[in-house]
Amino acid sequence: MISKFILGMSWMLPDQASSYAPEVDNLYLFLVGLTVFFTALIGIAILFFFVKYRRKVHTGIPKQIEGSIILESAWSIIPFIICLFIFAWGVKIYLEQYTIPNDAQDIYVVGKQWMWKFQHPEGQREINELHIPVGKKIRFVMATEDVIHSFYIPAFRMKEDIVPGPNRYTTVWAEPTMTGTFHIFCAEYCGTSHSGMIGWVTVMSDKDYAAWLAGGAGEGSMADRGAALFQSLGCITCHKPDAQGQCPRLEGKYGIEESVHTMSSPDIFKVLVDDSYIRESVLSPQAKVVAGYQPIMPSFQGQVSEEQLQSIIAYIKSIGPAASANAAAKPGTPAPAAARPQIMTTGSANPIAPQSEKAQSNPLQGHDELHYKKP
């Protein structure tokens, strides 16, 4: 907590309201110190030379100096080492910011032009305001209805873009460490009211939060809503015990691995049944077909809103195995998760080559892979 002790600096720092915020500020202040140091070093040197070596003889030629290998080495290598140090520290913080812990509670976020919509698993819905408990790890599962937005809470030092697409959820996490009310901003330009897409997150003590939850919705939890949608949208007509084996059963599926193949290739590979996979299955069912089943599921794109989709996921999670939603993959199991399709890999994790059982670390995997590793 170095930063707390640097006098006079706190006015230029936001509240440190998350568990990793102080670390971010520590690196920041180190860099500020480094910047001040080198700026002063060069600035004073320049000024000193400027004054001391002022031209006196209009036509004099000073003694020319070619250079110095020693100096060149010194001022290449030393800055590089300093840079390596900063780089490593930055990586450490980054991994912490983007490694979702296993025991986080979910908050579902939908960004759309130009508002933030939140859903608590317990059922509360909020718009532009979010209440969360202090001291608990919160995982934000986020989607956008239209363009790219970015969910930013400066006090948490937390930000990530939310990119539209049928098979991606963006997830970030934070553990609030102080109660209070803090800004929420959209940090990726999204159109006319981009600067109006702001809100407040209120971090409350456990007691206050429980009270707030209790005073809330009355329309049931997200899982309840999801169950209702499961009926009203007709999912239940197929995904049920006596469906003559047409559709895979969904009980107990959340968080485990499923064998799938793409629509036109029989090669089977494994994916993790997580939020992104379910989303893709609803919006783009032909991308991955569960092994042994026909690709007959229709797409629900346009018929289910982002919030409804999140409720359905909450429902499926609620009928999932007892293990936590972020069940860690066993070490050594195949890597490809149903992650956001990255640039060089696919949502369907390379249907061309059959995946073998051995662990293949794919350096181009998305964030999700880290989410399921034990920290």
Binding site: Y28, I46, L71, F80, H194, Q365
Partner: protein, 541 residues
């Protein structure tokens, strides 16, 4: 005018002789006029931005403000920063500095200017027809499927501007390779040339990728189908990768030539060869190469893979080192120099100081953990304005002062120039330093309105912007004034060793009456006749 010797300015009169010229110097002047025009437009838009941000609620409608900042960005990036130093100073000086009569392809040079003008016209039309509101980065799917603005026109304008840039780049590379005077070996070239050579490499390899990216985006917008909108199967992040693959190297297009200018300023105004000449020359090439490997640092929070983020972060630190090398070498050059207090030196020192801060704040952004917090905030805006305005603009203005006499035959007024420099320096820092603080406090960029607690810093920033604007206006004013009333410039006002100082001010159309044969090293001050004679006189008397 009677009695005035024949030079490139009076060699041929009338608008046709200018609009159809093949003389690289005249083309440089054509660029100067058009670039100055667009810079002024972009500058006005900057002031509009700052006016809007005086109050938390904003002054303009958000939609208007969005168009204002987009216009500012597009004009400043594509119509000022990319062409300014290369197309004005580079065009004018590159052939002279290497001892050639012109660039390799004079007609293509003229064509590049016409491309620039057409690009400008397209962009002006886009602005007048209502503007563009996507930000200069045109992220999809907003730009392809949601924006109600003249994206297509702007895209075409940018495409044509890219062509202008590419044509200049080809000219520079071929000229440096094939038209150096006898004796002008690679390591006798002024560092200005090395910088422009490296810039031309970046232009050639990067700009075509921008061209195809902008084309694909514009086509997608018109055809309602494509590869960047997820609703149609595409990936918005692919657009970002392709866009930044050019746009990151582009910032080196914007800064490398200015660094070349700074080398000339420091050397000439301190009468010393640049300390570590070879290192500075090679660092330009290193920046050009490494600059292509870091584009992913614009996507750290854009759902790019964490592993990719780590790689790009590392490479981003690698690209910082060659720039640091330059700064150290320039500082070392001043040691035991004979330092003039004239305006070009002031700009050089301003550049070093401001670019240093800008570059060091780049280290903040390259640190993954910090970038998560400050990306897309005013911290980034402050960073790039420090390097682009504190860096590139100062370098450009310094070069304009150093070579103004050579180009126009008139000297600028030294007193007012120094005053303007200081005004600009103060104004600049007041404008952008508060923005570092704003950014870390969480103020996002591209916001038309903001929470009230940020107002003080914004007001300071706007105050600074007015001062900076005033300072720049001073410069423009006295430059124009000097054309009629400035002192006549001698061939060599500075006692400088480059080939450009051995020919009259302004130079004759063919540059050299006799082909030079170079037998001296770069920055060999003993080769300057004035200085050589004085040394001889001093040692004799």
């Amino acid at each position: 005018m009677n009695g005035e010797p024949l030079n490139y300015l009076n060699n041929g009169h009338g608008i046709r002789s200018w609009l159809l010229t093949k003389d690289h110097k005249r083309i440089a002047i054509l660029y100067l006029i058009s670039v100055a025009f667009f810079f002024s437009v972009g500058g006005v838009y900057a002031l509009l931005i700052r006016i809007n941000l005086l109050t938390p609620g904003g002054v303009f409608e958000p939609d208007t403000y969005n168009r204002i900042f987009t216009t500012h960005g597009v004009i400043m990036v594509f119509l000022f920063l990319v062409p300014a130093v290369p197309a004005i100073l580079g065009n004018f000086l590159l052939p002279i500095m290497i001892g050639a009569k012109d660039l390799a392809f004079p007609k293509i040079n003229l064509l590049s200017w016409y491309c620039y003008v057409f690009a400008g016209i397209f962009l002006v039309v886009a602005i007048v027809a209502g503007g563009v509101d996507t930000g200069w980065t045109f992220y999809t799917p907003y730009s392809t499927s949601y924006s109600n603005s003249n994206v297509l026109l702007a895209g075409i304008g940018i495409f044509i501007a890219g062509f202008s840039s590419i044509l200049t780049g080809i000219n520079f590379i071929v000229t440096v390779h094939t038209m150096r005077a006898p004796g002008m070996t690679w390591f006798r070239l002024p560092l200005f040339i090395w910088a422009h050579y490296a810039t031309a490499l970046v232009i050639m390899l990067g700009t075509p990728v921008l061209a195809i990216t902008v084309s694909l985006m514009a086509l997608e917008r018109v055809a309602h189908v494509g590869i960047f909108d997820p609703a149609m199967g595409g990936d918005p992040v692919l657009f970002q990768h392709m866009f930044w693959f050019y746009s990151h190297p582009a910032v080196y297009i914007m800064v490398l030539p200015a660094m070349g200018v700074v080398s000339e300023l420091i050397a000439n105004m301190s009468r010393k060869n640049i300390f570590g000449y070879k290192f500075v020359a090679m660092s330009s090439l290193a920046i050009a190469v490494f600059g292509f490997l870091v584009w992913g640092h614009h996507l750290f929070v854009a759902t790019q893979s964490v592993y990719l983020g780590i790689i790009f972060s590392f490479l981003s630190y690698a690209v910082a080192i060659p720039s640091a090398i330059k700064v150290f070498n320039w500082t070392a050059t001043l040691f035991r120099g004979s330092i003039s207090y004239d305006t070009p030196m002031l700009y050089a020192l301003g550049f070093i100081f401001l670019f240093l801060i800008g570059g060091l704040t780049g280290l903040f952004l390259a640190a993954l953990g910090i970038d998560v917090h400050v990306t897309d905030t005013y911290f980034v805006i402050a960073h790039f304005h420090y390097v682009m305005v504190g860096g590139s603009l100062m370098g450009f203005l310094g070069g304009m002062h150093l070579w103004w006499g050579k180009m126009t035959g008139r000297m600028y007024p030294e007193f007012w120039a120094r005053a303007a420099t200081i005004v600009q320096f103060v104004g600049f820092n007041l404008t952008f330093f508060p923005q570092f603080i704003l950014g870390y406090l969480g103020m996002p960029r591209r916001y038309a309105a903001y929470p009230p607690e940020f107002q003080t810093l914004h007001v300071l920033s706007t105050a600074g912007a007015s001062i900076l604007g005033f300072g720049v206006a001073m410069t423009i004013f006295y430059f124009i004034w000097s054309l009629k009333y400035g002192k006549r410039a001698p061939a060599d006002p500075w006692g400088a060793p480059g080939l450009e100082w051995r020919i009259p001010s302004p130079p004759p159309t063919e540059n050299f009456t006799e082909l030079p044969v170079v037998t001296w090293e770069a920055y060999e001050f003993a080769s300057v006749p004035e200085l050589k004679e004085a040394e001889a006189a001093a040692s004799n008397g």
